[in-house]
């Protein structure tokens, strides 16, 4: 019996001593979730309370995340263990158990800080942004739930727990995209996002099941028997899944499919642009900074599955696929972004392309490279989105960049921060974090020895990025005002987060320069050292020079085409005039939606029609026939009843009722009478019993 008590969940102390930071790690995601639960119970007018609850809980989890981060950094600096985890058994069937758990390692620590910090800033921002919305509390309920689930994804040490949080994230994303569900477009967008990501998640689930069937555990790390640790990996590598893939690679690719769905990689990117129907803070938090990054994070988490079996400096089939998908997505989305006119759509497509960069970075240069770009991108993309939100807010919900312009004088602070974000996104040399992270990817691509294709694609993508961002900024902030009524700067609660994000957008570059690759060292658990020789690697400086040139080229091109001249909103775009044959397909997003419409959707519609026809004709006919038969039978019965049965039945009834009259004397409604009968009966029964059982 005591054994059972020993396995009470609340006793991680059964392992050796674990610091309360680890045992209490679960508080980080739980705090916002609890907050959202409480908010859900609040009445609508309790706006202030709801907001303070959400912000407070998230700041609690941010503080805890910082604690955890410092804990890991300290462990890393002392060269002691950097990966600690707590596992609990959820339930067991047969011999195999299903375990949940949470892990704290550099990857998780960095993501924790990033998510909670960006999330907190966006929460504060949205207090101002949503101030006039009547569903304020609902908004914060969903937001906190999302933040909690995201943090859960980050810390979970079990693929199952990760998948649960993953699905909650998907759900909240659905709820928040459709937050203004009275807009049919928003509802449609929400549905689209949900369904599209499902497609990926199905593969993800398949991967999970396969992994469980092969390794018997879903824990990532568990003292050497986890699914990402030696034994399991070797076992997985040893068996082949066809197409030159090992089981490990195949599972990795299935999970990668889930990531493709979540972070809008090439086949499944269609939902992300439409997701911009949601409130702008949502777009910033979910569809720029964190959720879409969850896909990348997932790939980074299961990276061992994909990279196992690679020769040193070599690669595996799985990684090759990841690389190609990422690189092509990067260019593809960037191309489309060139020809969009909705300020948020442009940012959405740039997000897709940047996610492509991250994927490519993972595939080419390993976890550190991709994750570094993820972190930097999270900050400056959140900055850009919030800036866009502030612009939209300032322009009275106007989203078409052709109807803006000259805002740099109207909203200077927004312009400043936005420019910083834009330069960081373009990868403007030296001073901006985007440059360093993107450069790392390019460098990795350059040294990739399978093919140089990704390298050229990514460079071209960089050019395009610089170009379309310049176009957007020119449209929005330069020239003269083309909107209806004049714009105004947003209030403090919105601009302050912008400033903070801008600071990070610049400063984060420092920790990832080749001279001092602190970040990479930390993630890959090497020792970091500062030396200028980092730049002395062959070809690095040339590469930096080349990419800077590319960026300048893009900026110059953009300025040349759009700079400071403000065309009338109706006038065709500059690029359209010069190259209409190129413009049309780009404007129509390269017809991907139409393609899906013509194939998948059309097929489902056709299938629905077929099913409907079956229902109406075949099954309906059968049912009708049966019904008719029964009707006939019923008629027959009725005749029988009326003529024969009823007579006899009435007679019986009379007899019964007279008999009942006699019996009803007993049921006098006197409680004590009942009790008496009861007792007497008991006496009789017991007496009989005893009598019969006498020896």
């Amino acid at each position: 019996m005591m054994q059972e008590y020993a396995s009470v969940p609340f006793q991680p102390a059964t392992q050796c001593f674990v610091s309360p930071i680890i045992t209490g790690l679960w508080l980080i995601p739980v705090a916002p979730m609890v907050a959202s639960g409480v908010i859900a119970l609040l009445k609508q007018p309790r706006r202030k309370f709801a907001a303070s609850l959400a912000v407070g809980s998230l700041s609690i989890s941010m503080l805890l995340s910082l604690l955890a981060f410092c804990h890991v950094v300290a462990g890393w600096a002392h060269g002691s263990v950097v990966r600690e985890f707590v596992n609990l058994t959820w339930f067991r069937f047969g011999s195999s158990t299903v375990d949940l758990g949470w892990v704290l390692d550099p990857l998780a620590a960095i993501m924790l800080v990033m998510v909670s910090l960006v999330g907190l800033l966006i929460f504060i921002y949205s207090v101002g942004y949503m101030a006039h919305d009547e569903n304020f509390t609902r908004f914060f309920c969903f937001m906190s739930l999302f933040a909690g689930a995201m943090l859960g994804v980050v810390i979970s040490n079990s693929l199952l727990l990760l998948f649960m949080c993953w699905e909650i994230v998907g759900l909240t994303s659905y709820l928040l995209i459709g937050f203004w569900y009275q807009k049919p477009s928003a509802a449609a967008a929400a549905r689209k996002a949900f369904v599209t990501t499902r497609v990926g998640d199905v593969f993800f689930l398949l991967g999970i099941v396969w992994l469980f069937s092969q390794t018997g555990t879903l824990l990532f790390y568990n003292h050497g028997v986890g699914s990402l640790e030696g034994l399991a990996l070797v076992n997985l590598l040893s068996q082949h899944a066809g197409l030159g893939l090992s089981a490990a690679g195949a599972i990795g690719l299935l999970i990668f499919a889930g990531a493709v769905g979540k972070s809008g990689q090439l086949p499944l990117h269609v939902w992300l642009p439409d997701a911009m129907e949601g409130p702008t803070p949502v777009s910033a938090l979910i569809h720029a900074a964190t959720m879409v990054a969850a896909g990348v994070f997932l790939v980074a988490r299961v990276y061992p599955l994909m990279s196992i079996g690679a020769a040193p400096h070599g690669t595996t089939a799985a990684l090759t696929v990841v690389t190609w998908v990422g690189a092509s997505t990067a260019v593809f989305a960037a191309l489309i972004a060139v020809a969009q006119n909705d300020i948020k759509r442009i940012l959405a497509y740039s997000t897709i392309s940047q996610l492509g960069y991250m994927m490519a970075g993972l595939g080419l240069g390993g976890v550190a490279v991709g994750m570094f770009h993820l972190i930097t991108h999270a900050f400056f993309k959140a900055l850009l989105f919030l800036g866009a939100g502030s612009v939209i807010h300032g322009c009275r919900e106007e989203q078409d960049i052709r109807r803006m312009g000259g805002l740099r004088s109207d909203m200077p602070l927004t312009f400043l921060t936005y420019a910083i974000g834009m330069l960081a996104l373009c990868g403007f040399p030296i001073f901006f974090s985007g440059f360093w992270s993107k450069d790392g990817i390019l460098e990795a691509a350059k040294h990739w020895d399978i093919s140089k294709g990704p390298f050229y694609l990514l460079v071209f993508g960089a050019l395009l990025t610089a170009f379309y961002m310049t176009r957007q900024v020119c449209y929005v902030f330069f020239g003269h005002w083309r909107g209806h009524e004049s714009a105004h700067e947003s209030q403090r609660v919105m601009t302050v987060p912008l400033a903070i994000l801008a600071f990070f957008a610049i400063a984060l570059g420092v920790i990832g320069t080749p001279a001092w690759p602190w970040f990479h060292a930390f993630v890959e658990n090497r020792t970091a050292s500062f030396s200028w020789h980092g730049f002395a690697e062959p070809g690095l400086l040339q590469l930096m020079l080349a990419s800077s040139l590319v960026v300048f080229l893009g900026l110059g091109l953009g300025w040349r085409l759009y700079g400071n001249k403000s065309p009338r909103p109706e006038a065709p775009d500059a690029l359209e005039r010069s190259a209409p044959w190129l413009w049309a397909p780009l404007r129509d997003r390269l017809y991907v939606d139409e393609l899906y419409g013509a194939t998948v959707v059309a097929f489902y519609a056709w299938w629905a029609r077929v099913a409907d026809w079956f229902d109406r004709r075949i099954w309906g006919g059968i049912v009708a026939a049966i019904a008719w038969l029964f009707g006939l039978w019923a008629q027959l019965n009725r005749l029988l009843d009326i003529d024969w049965v009823d007579g006899g039945f009435d007679k019986t009834c009379e007899e019964l009722s007279s008999g009942g009259g006699l019996l009803s004397r007993v049921e006098g409604g006197r409680v004590q009478n009942y009790l008496r009968f009861l007792a007497a009966a008991v006496v009789a029964l017991v007496a009989i019993l005893l009598w019969s059982s006498r020896p």
């Binding site: 409680v671 004590q672 009790l675």
Partner: protein
């Protein structure tokens, strides 16, 4: 020199009979309830006596049974008296002989 099981059982039986008599002969609904309480207590006495004299007192079965039945008896008393009060408010009597209508 100790008391044999039979003694306790007899006391319990007598108490049960007394309670039953009370429940059967008094007019007042509350007293019927009290009688039923007495019967329950007699049963508890039995349970505990059996636990004490049974082959496996360390299993606590009878004792647990008694404790649970105490709890249940408390609930029963609460509901029963609540009913009596409600009926009294409705028909202004607690006399069972007068309370013989099946519908209010």
């Amino acid at each position: 020199m100790t008391t044999p099981l039979a003694g306790y059982l007899l006391v319990a039986a007598l108490l049960f009979a007394i309670g039953l008599a009370g429940a059967l002969t008094r007019r007042n609904a509350i007293l019927v309830l009290i009688g039923i309480e007495l019967m329950l207590n007699a049963a508890n006495l039995n349970l505990i006596a059996f636990w004490r004299f049974g082959p496996h007192p360390e299993l606590l079965t009878g004792m647990m049974f008694a404790i649970f039945s105490i709890a249940v008896a408390a609930a029963e008393a609460a509901v029963g008296l609540g009913l009596v009060i409600a009926i009294h408010r409705h028909t202004n009597t607690t006399d069972l002989d007068k309370m013989n209508r099946m519908k209010g």
